[in-house]
Symmetry: C2
Amino acid sequence: VRLVFGLAACLVLWTACRTGDPRSSHSAIPPRLGPKLYLRGGAEHDELNARADRLVSMALANGQAYEILEDLCTTAPHRLAGSPGAERAVEWGYDTMRRLGLRNVRREAVMVPRWVRGDIEKLSLVGTAEEFKITALGGSIGTPAAGLAGEVVMVRSFEQLKQLGDKARGKIVFFNRLMNPALLNTFAAYGGAVDQRSRGPIHAARAGGIAAIVRSMTTLINDYPHTGATRYEAGLPKVPAVAISTKGAERLAALLQEGTVSLNLQLSCRTLPDVASANVVGEIVGMKPNEIVLIGGHLDAWDIGQGAHDDGAGIAHCLEAMRLIQVSGLCPKRTIRCVLYMNEENGVRGARAYVQRHKQDLERGTHYAAIESDRGGFRPRGFDSSARDERLAELQRVVEPLRSYHMGAMIKGRHGGVDISFLRPYCRLLFGLVPSSQRYFDFHHSDLDRMEAVNERELALGAAALAYLASVLADE
Amino acid sequence: VRLVFGLAACLVLWTACRTGDPRSSHSAIPPRLGPKLYLRGGAEHDELNARADRLVSMALANGQAYEILEDLCTTAPHRLAGSPGAERAVEWGYDTMRRLGLRNVRREAVMVPRWVRGDIEKLSLVGTAEEFKITALGGSIGTPAAGLAGEVVMVRSFEQLKQLGDKARGKIVFFNRLMNPALLNTFAAYGGAVDQRSRGPIHAARAGGIAAIVRSMTTLINDYPHTGATRYEAGLPKVPAVAISTKGAERLAALLQEGTVSLNLQLSCRTLPDVASANVVGEIVGMKPNEIVLIGGHLDAWDIGQGAHDDGAGIAHCLEAMRLIQVSGLCPKRTIRCVLYMNEENGVRGARAYVQRHKQDLERGTHYAAIESDRGGFRPRGFDSSARDERLAELQRVVEPLRSYHMGAMIKGRHGGVDISFLRPYCRLLFGLVPSSQRYFDFHHSDLDRMEAVNERELALGAAALAYLASVLADE
């Protein structure tokens, strides 16, 4: 039956995609009753298989995820929270949701930090013309205009820095621990190195250092530095912090092998007062309108590259999933709410504001499930889930129809993603879309994270998987 | 145990990769006895898990697949059989096998066709300056120097062309059937369209046409034409044949909607007499030296792009698998023979010559198994296999240790690949490495098939999977 349906769907879509522009048609789709699920019988099983087939075929043959992403990356390539680009992204998100025919489209206000990179980012070898490719870490303070010069001390860990005692005093601390390339999951490798970026300046200051240089978070060796958020600790001096390209890190380590190295660092970045911004929210209203299945990603992105994978892809996944659910004629029982979060990268204010604003609803248990996409637009493998073991086995059956598309994995996870992790006290079912992680950190937070790094079919499959899980959870 | 071993292996490799160059060390690895397998006990299971962990960690942390591929693509970017580039590739293959410490390294001679593209490839709209991006199909005849002009007739199928009757006589036949984007497996979509390329000129000639234009085999819409082999039939006229970019195909179809279109085609390609070339062969000699597990890919590639995925990746997979098996200290029972086949793209002479030359051995049943890699260097999912159902379940257990790396699939297939399909009468176990197919036809046979399209980690994983299966089959 599945095969026959699949072939039939292909034929229908094949014809459809040759003849018309579906953009014009979503709002014209007549609503029909959602199917009954979980009767554990053959018919429901067939319906879910057919649903998966339909969503995947539509996404591949006639999807718009790639166009949506291209549109975002063209409209607001740089969209760090608080920037004019982020405001363009908010307007774009609002307009796109309306164009897609979503209901209750709105901006939900949130105050966000405003960090500005400025024009000057320069790290040079004192006494030479040699420069390194760097990028200020988000949240870093700037240096005096003439720069800040000092000897460099290299460490691989905070422990090693501590053991140096006074030897780091007055120096520039260079954190040069690699992401472990032997780990299959590059997010695990990232997790084993990213404390240098997020807390390096704190440890540098504690050791009496004057600045922090952090090896970029990637397993590639090239000349593209990778930015990301860093933090300071109250009661400690703030020191300027930058990421150096991995090629630069290797070069610097080699120079340090030969003897003393002094560097001059100039940064013009600074933090301005908080400004108003917004999460963007839109819905497919279900027959039980007050029960919510939330899908989300983050609208903000770093100010280098285009944030195409991080998290343009997540935004495209979510918006395309909403479109697919509508055009496939599904009429979910629960409301599917799409949230484009603001400020995931450097403050997570959007996620906090969402919880604040919807606290009453959340406490009433209205949020049945939430799914986040924030791991890039690569070939999806399935989902991870916060569910407990018994429930996980059930959920494995739910995504079984995605298995023939090699995206039926249901992995034990923690909270699906940073933004929806704030829902944890109120919502037991948190999911994250899990794409292949092999290439993610080639691009992440760097100038390489552009449209060219995204494959149309891989992106489309992510949207189909998300549409499937959201729609099934909404009917469950 | 597995986790502990994995962590230990990571640590060891981590240290190793920080301290020395493994290139200098493979021949120094002391041989040790291969483990006993298939006792179905816990220890053997643990050994296989440990082997998979070791091979994957080594490939990811300290692999050379990417360097091998880069070396090939730099040494012989254009290496169509019979060309000077192909001869450089043969020498490169021979030298690389020697450098990797393989035994019985040799060239096995084979006569190959010699098709030459020439400098002129031009398709223009008569009466205008408008040109289309095209590439001659491999094996095509050229046109008269002044070109060949004619009206265009577009068809989506051979059936449709047949129904045109005499209306195609004297015309240029434009085959414009799309690869079906709704199919998950792009090789299936390719299979549904590629007859236009391989047999278009035959059908065009049969209908009285004067040339064949074929829509490029890709689901992308862009201006890169994709070449590939085409055929003529004895007794029918030969007509010149080209692939047009998909953007060009869309443009041409739009022009035909408006009215009559006449084109002028100029091609300077031609076929010269056959020349001598070679397959390149090297071995890891087992304790039962005359029993063979063969792994192979093809050394030749089309003369545009660099053949990085097709089939540089397969060559890199095979050579790196041979290196990994050696440096991991495995000492397989059967001989593992690596064959770099010549002329897969336009004649398959290498595969035929291999069977001719080794006929006696093959008839004695010396070839226990063969694995081919010729589907690109993308994220591997596992293997397909010619084995029958009962055996397939056993083989599924064999690759079980690859499952935690998401490459443990063992799919029912036909013959693993074009080159090893010639072994079918003599060898029951034929396997093909199966990577994700989503991006393959973005690059295949086009100028885009370059190093930049290959990801180091994805390529490394393919080599590890291949090394694992080859070494386990050799011990079975």
